[in-house]
Structure formats: structure tokens, C-alpha cells
């Protein structure tokens, strides 16, 4: 119980710090915020009007306080470009991105774990070389490159999937998945390459440990040794590594959603940044960081279930 409480307190503290960092990055960096939004050539009166409406003339502490207060009470501000309440925008777009995140992670793990184990078992043989080369290539290509390839191959050439657009999952779930598939696949392939390498090195490390030798000395079949004894120890670290990749994934969806015209959280963030929509920037950056942190917390707690050495309290 104390462990859970510990983590919760930790989470709250970190959330608080996240708001600080978000605010700092968007407001404290040099440059006049109003000019940043409206451009340097704007009419000084219009600039002043904007400053008033955004409360930019108040001391920073007050601005920060206002923002935090708003966050806690549900008033997340209004988007300058979309002219809609931010909370509403976020809610709409969040699900769409969630679909991509879940899909790409699933694709990645489903392929990476068997591949990585296979490579580790056949360490230093041709299977390992093939797997390692392929994952090396996969890791070296930029995500959006995969995206472009997907578009060219699956959308333009084969015509199996749409190259852009989105459908509300509440309206048409299957359709939504169809639209989400290519971006997820593009993301998933890059992720898979990385996870394969990590799985391989984790498995290799485990296979070198003493209890594996003892298991063999008991006369257990090699199959049992690898797929029961070794893998059971690898699941934990692999899940942790996959969890850490969530952060990276959230960065990549910004690019991927824009490439595919898929209007989810990533696309929203990008629009905000491009158009210097300050309230929206603050909100999206905060949400993404908070989600990443909470995901890591969940992964940590999951670890307690997987590894008997880690106890609650």
C-alpha cells in the first residue's frame, strides 16, 4: 500500500513540475509572445489587444496561477485558431490518437518479441545476422519516410488503404481503424525494429545467467529452457522498454498524423505550434507529457505483477 501511495505522491509532484516546465518553455523563452503569435509586423494596437485578452501583461506568476487554476477547474482556455474550447478539442482528438498508439505498439510488440527471441537463440548465426541487419535498417529510416513509403505502396499503388483523412470512431469503428492503419503500420515498423534489438539483447543477457545453466543441467529440453525459463524473465524488461517508447511514439505521431492528414492529437499539436496558438500549445504539450508520465506509472505498476521480486510496500 505504501508503494502505491508513494508513487501517487510522486505522480502528483511530477505533474506539477510538468506544468512548470510547459509554462516555462512556452512563456519564459526570449521573445514577445504577442509578436510570436501575430507576427512582428503587426499593428501595435492589435498586439496590445491580444496581450490584454491573453493576460500577458500580468506578472508571470499570476499568468501561471491563472493557467493552473483553469486546468484544475476544467477551463482549459480557448483555441486562437479553432475558436473552440480547448477541452472539447482535446477530447475529440484524443481517441483518434489513442487508436494509433495502441495499434502501432501492438503491431510492434507482436512482431518484435518473437523476432528478437529468435535472433537471441540463434546468436551469431545467420538468423541473427539477418534479423539484426533488418532491424538496423529499420531503426535508421526516419518515421515519416516509412509513412511516405506506405502512402506510395499501399495507398497510391495498391489502393488498399486511404492515404489521408480520418473517420470518427464513434460513427464507424471499422472505418476508423482503416484510416488509422497506415499511420500505425508506419510507426509500428520503426518501433518494431528498435524493440527487436532490445528484445534480442535482453534475451541474450538472460541466457547468459546461471539459472539457465542450472536448468539445462536438470535435463530440461532447450525449448523449455528458452520459451519458459528465459522468456518469463524477459517479459518484464521488454515491457518496461516498450513503455519507455511511448514517449518517443507521441513525438512521432505529430509528424505521422500531419503526413497522413489524420486529425488526431498530434495533428492538433502541430497546428498549434505552426500557428503559435499559445493556449492550445500549452494545453497539448501538457496533456502529452502527462499521458506519457501516467503510462510510465502504469508500466511500473504492471511490473509489480510480473516480477515477484518487486513488492508493493
Amino acid at each position: 500500500m505504501t508503494y502505491v501511495l508513494n508513487r501517487l505522491l510522486s505522480v502528483i509532484l511530477t505533474l506539477f513540475l510538468i506544468t512548470l516546465v510547459t509554462f516555462a518553455v512556452t512563456n519564459i523563452l526570449p521573445g514577445d509572445v504577442a509578436m510570436m503569435i501575430m507576427g512582428t509586423q503587426s499593428n501595435p494596437e492589435a498586439l496590445e489587444g491580444l496581450r490584454q485578452s491573453l493576460g500577458l501583461n500580468e506578472p508571470l506568476i499570476v499568468q501561471y496561477g491563472n493557467w493552473i487554476g483553469g486546468l484544475l477547474t476544467g477551463d482549459w482556455g480557448t483555441s486562437l485558431i479553432f475558436k473552440k474550447p480547448i477541452a472539447e478539442l482535446l477530447a475529440q482528438k484524443a481517441v483518434a490518437s489513442a487508436i494509433i498508439v495502441v495499434m502501432s505498439m501492438t503491431i510492434a510488440l507482436a512482431l518484435a518479441v518473437p523476432l528478437g527471441v529468435w535472433a537471441a537463440v540463434h546468436r551469431d548465426k545467420w538468423q541473427d545476422t539477418v534479423s539484426s541487419s533488418a532491424s538496423l535498417m529499420g531503426v535508421s529510416l526516419p518515421d515519416f519516410f516509412w509513412g511516405i513509403v506506405m502512402i506510395l505502396v499501399f495507398a497510391r499503388w495498391l489502393g488498399w488503404f486511404p492515404s489521408s483523412g480520418i473517420v470518427e470512431p464513434s460513427e464507424d469503428f471499422l472505418g476508423a481503424l482503416r484510416y488509422a492503419f497506415l499511420p500505425s503500420l508506419a510507426l509500428g515498423l520503426g518501433l518494431m525494429a528498435h524493440l527487436t534489438r532490445m528484445t534480442r539483447s535482453t534475451m541474450t543477457g538472460i541466457l547468459g545467467q546461471e539459472f539457465i545453466r542450472v536448468a539445462r543441467a536438470k535435463g530440461l529440453t532447450e525449448r523449455t529452457v528458452i520459451w519458459r525459463y528465459a522468456l518469463a524473465n524477459a517479459i518484464g524488461p521488454v515491457i518496461t522498454i516498450a513503455g519507455l517508447q511511448i514517449g518517443y511514439l507521441f513525438g512521432s505521431i505529430i509528424v505521422m498524423e500531419s503526413l497522413f492528414g489524420y486529425t488526431g492529437m498530434g495533428w492538433l499539436t502541430y497546428q498549434a505550434l505552426l500557428n503559435r496558438d499559445l493556449p492550445l500549445i500549452q494545453a497539448t504539450v501538457f496533456v502529452i507529457a502527462a499521458v506519457v508520465m501516467i503510462t510510465n506509472l502504469i508500466v511500473d505498476l504492471l511490473y509489480v505483477l510480473i516480477d515477484p521480486r518487486v513488492k508493493l510496500g
Binding site: I18, V21, T26, M36, K125, F144, I148, I254, L273, V285
Partner: protein
Amino acid sequence: MRRFKTTKGLIGIVLLTIIALVAILGPMILPPDAATKMDMLARRSPPTWNHLLGTDQLGRDMLYRVILGARTSLEIAVSAVLMSIVLGLPLGLVSGYFGGWIDNVLMRLVDTLLAFPALLLALTISAVLGPNVQNTIIAIGIAFTPYLARIIRGEALKVAQMPYVEAARASGTTDGMIMLRHVLPNILPAVIVQATISLAFAILAEAGLSFLGLGTQPPAASWGLMIQASRDQLDVAPWTALVPGAAVALTVLGLNMFGDVLRDILDPKSK
């Protein structure tokens, strides 16, 4: 596999040397307007003898552009990684060596930064500062600092527990000298490996930022910018995307290969 490893290392080094040479010498050898000269008669032309890698929608030669883009992209990546080391090394070193409350506080901050996806952080910083080459370097440099700091802190922590550090303390060596003489040389291999990997990510990051219009801006040429410009030509002129994309891929591949082999040499436990 051992042969594979040495082959891998060789290919990596060869690739990197070629790219580095191209990036450094290219702008010196080529005529100053090579990347911007527009050959209106040969717009969107696939590879021909005149234009070995084809031309883009404004008739600019892809080969020259990719060569010049190399310098910008590499400059940005190297500067950004150096910046992250300058910021992250002292942070990680002090945190890992002293431990205790210093470690707690510093790592709490670093962990907070780590909750922000690196690309997002870089994009935000770039958007706020105003995108140009210099700010791209700052953005990527700051975004990468927490990763480096965490890794260095881990290594420094390991070294700080070693008996030879305790022996140095028993010999009367001051903390500062211990960090310099004993800890730093022992974490350097990990730093080098991490720097190589960071370089790869930095190139990808620059490509991503420029692709989204929040990195380098025209008239500067970088690979990411080239890919961005190619977005509308994908159907008619796919090589406009493939050429810079391949350049990025080859550089990152070379760095990853080299980094892998470096890691195997310096840390045999990871094999």
C-alpha cells in the same frame, strides 16, 4: 557473426567517412549557386546524365542540393549533440557521484523533462524561439540533454561505487579530483557510444523538424527541408523524396552501425 560485426563496423566507418567528406568538401568544390540554380527546362526530371539524381519542381539539381544539405544537417546534428553533452555531462556526473539529495533533486527534474517526447520539446522550443538553423540546434540540444544526463548519471553511479574510487578517497584525493581523474575516464566510453547514437537521432530530429516547417527555413538547404518540399511531388517525382530520404537513412545507418560496434568493443557485457 564476428565477421558480420567487423563488416558492420567497416561499412559504418566507410559510410560516415564518405558522408563527412562530402559534407565538408562539397560546398568548397561546388559552384556557389549549384543548389539554387534553376534549370527551368528540366523541372521534375528523373535522373539523367545532366542531373545525376534528377531535379526538383524548380529545376534544381538534386545531387548538388543533397550534398549541400549534408553540411547543414550534419552541422546542426553535431552542434546539438555537443550542446547536450556540455549541458548533460556535468549534470549527470555530479548527480551520479554525489548521490543523496543532489541526485534526487536533479533526477526529479530530468525525469520531468523526459516525460516530454524529445521531438515535441524540440518542436516547441523551435516554434517559440522562431525556426532557423541556430534555434534548431538549441531546440534539439536542450531536448536531448535529459537523455544524456540520465545515462551519464547511471554510469557515474556505477563508477562511484567501485573500490578504486574508495581507495582514492582513502588516499586523500578530493572529490573534484576523483571526478576528474577516476570517474570521467571510466564513463567516457559510455559517453562516446551515447554521443554516436544521439547523433543519429539528431539527424532524424532535424529532418523531422524541417519536414514540419519548424526547423531550417529556405533559403538554407537541409535534408529535412528537401523532403518537405517533395511532399506535393510524390506522384510525379518520387525521387525528390527518395534522394534526401536515402541520404538521411545512410547517415543514420552508418552512425548506428558504428555505434553498435563501439558499444560491443567498450562494453562486452552487452553482446
